[in-house]
Point group: C2
Chain length 149, copies 2
């Protein structure tokens, strides 16, 4: 059974724990570094009403994180879409349904806001993650194409 | 040879032409409707400094459109990513390199802004579009997962 979890907007004090979660990951570990690089990005997210950096707080600990971005658009009769990025669950909290709770929570937020669609991309090497999202109702109908600059 | 093209931010006057482009498409045609549904969405995009609705203007005509969204994030040492959505080229303007110019332009904007990554998703049924993005350097490393609400 998952522990009691609270979803809340991240504060500046959560940034080191979030960066640690981003680095504690087979694919992401080579990409993350010193926490100083992250303050400006945190301030940009925090100031933007369409971007929400979320932490899953379990007994005062940052057990998981995700970012929710609401993207306005003309397509689909002008309905907003919700995008989920940077989903991470701390290794000590895996396998107990926390990821499921986090994504269900994000879908609920998107629904409450009136979004027409929730979208995310998942690295094709993360086969478990892709299956996990499929159990939550997502379908891999699109190619997620990336161009690093 | 492509005609002379100007890329500019869409104005309210462009909305009917953009909606016509969204509807003039095998997959999108069933999803679009009366232009009245689009005004609020246009106003939301227009007011958001991280969202840019762009038209490719060829001799005063809206020949193509795309939306560029800049998403701040902590991942990858806090670099912003650029996302391209709602890419359409008018049927009278296809096959002459306009789409290529549009995406190259968007990549250039992302680079100028200092983004670390450009990303988009493309419906797996649009095989030509996927090959086209690959020629521009994009790689289909991710599954693009969607959950309509």
């Amino acid at each position: 059974m998952p522990a009691d979890v609270t979803f809340r907007t991240a504060t500046k004090d959560d940034v080191p724990a979030i960066v640690a979660l981003l680095a504690d990951d087979a694919i992401g570990s080579g990409r993350e570094g010193d926490v100083d690089a992250y303050w400006a990005a945190f301030a940009a997210i925090d100031a933007d009403p369409r971007n929400h950096l979320i932490v899953a707080d379990v007994e005062g600990e940052v057990a998981g994180t995700l970012q929710l971005t609401f993207i306005p658009g003309l397509s689909r009769k002008g309905t907003e879409r919700a995008q989920i990025e940077a989903v991470r669950v701390g290794s000590a909290h895996r396998g107990r349904g926390l990821g499921h709770q986090m994504i269900e929570w994000a879908i609920g937020e998107a629904r409450r806001r009136g979004c027409g669609l929730v979208q995310l991309t998942s690295d094709k090497r993360r086969e478990d993650a892709i299956r996990f999202y499929e159990t939550l109702g997502f379908e891999a109908t699109h190619e997620g194409m990336k161009l690093p600059l």
